[in-house]
Amino acid sequence: MSDQKKDCDCDRRGLLLATTVAGGAAVAAAAVPFVASLAPSERAKAIGAPVVADISKLAPGEKMVVKWRGKPVWILRRTPEMLASLETVKEKLSDPDSEKSSQPDYTKNPTRAVNKEYLVAVGICTHLGCSPSDKFKTGSDEGMATDWAGGFLCPCHGSIFDLAGRVFKGQPAPTNLEIPPHVYDDPANPAMVTIGIDSTDSKGA
C-alpha cells in the first residue's frame, strides 16, 4: 500500500475527486425535475375548487354525499334524538372537545357544526383513509353494541364515530373526522351550503 501511495500522482487524484464531486452534484441536480414531476399537477390542484350542495330537500335523519377535492363530504341532517345522543356518548369519546382534531374554528363546538342540525364532515377515516359506513339505527340492529347510540363504523379497521364524527376511545383512528370549511347562504334556514370556503366573500380555502 505504501508503494502505491508514493506512486500516486496527487494532482490527478485531486482532479479525480473534484470531478466525482461535481458529477455527483450534477446528478443530484438532474434528479430535482424528476422528483418535482411527482407532485400534484396544476390540474390536480385546480380540482380543489369549492362545491355547492343543495340541502333544501334533505329530510331529518337523511345523509347526502358530495365530492370535494376527490373526497366524499357528508351532509347529515340530524334529528333532535340524534343531537341528544351527542351528549350521552361524550364520556366514551377519545377527543370529545375536538382539541386534537382538524376543523375550522367556527365548528369547534359540541355539535361540530355551524348550524347544529347539519353535520358537514369529510367522510374519510382519519386512520387509513377508508370511508366509514352509516350506522344510524340505535342498539344492536345493525350489528353494533347494544348501547350503540348511532354513528359511523369504518369497515376497514373498525373505528367507530358518533353523529358529530367524533371518534370513540380505544379505536385505531387517532382523531375525529375532519370538518371541511363550509358556509351556508343563510345559516338559520339553509338551502345551499358551499364546501371549501370559510365565508361568502373568500375565494376558497
Partner: protein
Amino acid sequence: MAANSSFPKYQSDGTLLGNALEWFDARFPLTSLWKAHLSEYYAPKNFNFWYFFGSMAIVVLIIQFVTGIFLVMHYQPNANLTPSGLPIAFESVEYIMREVPGGWFIRYMHSTGASFFFIVVYLHMFRGMLYGSYRKPRELIWIFGVLIFLCLMAIAFMGYLLPWGQMSYWGAQVILSFFSAIPVVGEDISTLIRGDYVVAGATLNRFFALHVCAVPLALLGLVVAHILALHEVGSNNPDGVEIKKFKDEKGIPLDGVPFHPQYTIGHDLPANVIMLIFFFAVIFFWPEGGGYFLEYNNFLPADPMTTPAHLAPVWYFTAFYSMLRAMTWNFFWIDAKIWGVISMFAGVLILAFLPWLDRSPAKSIRYRGPIFKVLLAFFVVSFAMLCYLGTKGTEYHFFGYTPTEGFNPLNILLSGSFHTKFWTFYYFLFFLTMPYWSKIDKCKPVPERVTFK
C-alpha cells in the same frame, strides 16, 4: 469461416456448425457461459422436490412477462370516465376480457400467474429455511432473494391498482395512507407518491409505469444476481453439506451432477409440466380462485365515495397485513399506526438477517435438533394463522363465536385480534431468539458427503 488459429481453446471440429461456433466463441463467451451455468455447473445429486420451486419461479416469471406485454397492448391506464360513466381503465380490462380475441385467457394467465408466483416463492423460501440454504457462504444469494421478494410485493401491489376496481382503489388508499403515518413529513410523502390528495388518475398512471417498466427491470437484474451468486458458490442440498469438499482428479465434485441435462430435463421439466397442469386448471375452471386470486369486489368500478364493506388484501399479502393490524397500542408516545407500518416492513426485512441469526452447527433440518423442529412447526402455524386472519375483519372470532358479556376466557381465546397479536409476537420471537436456541439445540452429526440411495 476459416478456423481461427489464434484462439486454440475455441478449436472447431471442422464442420460448418463447428466453424460458426468458433467464430462466435472468439467474439462472445457463448460456449463458456453455457458450460459455466448449465452443462458444467455441478449441482448436488441429492435434490428432492423442494428444489423444484426455483425453476418454477423462472417459468412463472416468463409467463408474467409475456402475458404482461400482450396486456399492455390493450389496457389503458386512464381514470377518466367513459360517456357511460365507467372509468376507462376498468372498461379496458372488461374490453380485454370480452372483446379482445383470447384476451380473457391472457388476462387470467397474468392474474393467476401473480398468485402462483407467490405460491412458488413462499415454498422456495421455506426450502431455504428447511435446509439452511441461507447459511455461509450463501448469505448474498439469500439477501438478493429477499430483495426479489420485496420487488415482487411492490409489483403485485402496483399491478393490483390497474384494473381500477373497488378493491384496487381502496386497497391502494389504505396502504398509501401508511406513509402519512411518518412523523412530520408523512403527509407530503404520501401526496408525492399519489401525485394527488387522494388516490387518483395520477396515481394510476405512475403505478402503471412502475408496474410495467421500472420494477420488472429491477426484478430481472436481481434474478440474474441471485443466480450468478448461486453459481459462484454452488447449490446447497437437503443434507446441508458442501459437495465441493470432495472432488475427482478433474476438479468435479464427486457428489455433483451436471445441471444440464440431469436437472433441467430430468427434474425441472416434468415438475414444471405438473405445475402448468395445475396452473391451467385454475385458469379454465377456477380463475377467481374462490375470491382469493381475484376479489369479487374488484369487479365493481372504483368509487372514491364508498368503501366496500369488507376490505382485505389479496391472500399473499395477508400475513404482513395481519402484522400491521396487530399493533394497536401507542408505545413510547409513537402512534400505533407507525408501529403497524414498522412491524409490516420488519416482518419482511427480518428475513434478510437470517444468515446471522442462525448459529446452529448443522444447516439442514435432517441433522438439526428438536428445538428447531418444534419452533419451525409453530412458525409455519404462525404464518398460516396470520395469512388466514388477514383475510378476516377485525371483529372476527373463530367458529362463528359471539363474545359474551362479562369475563369469559373464550372471548379472548377465540378472538381473531388476540390471535393476530399472539402469532405476530411469535413470528418475531422466532427470529429474535434464534441466536440463542439454535446454538444450544442438540444436533445430530452431519455426514461428510451427501446421502443418496
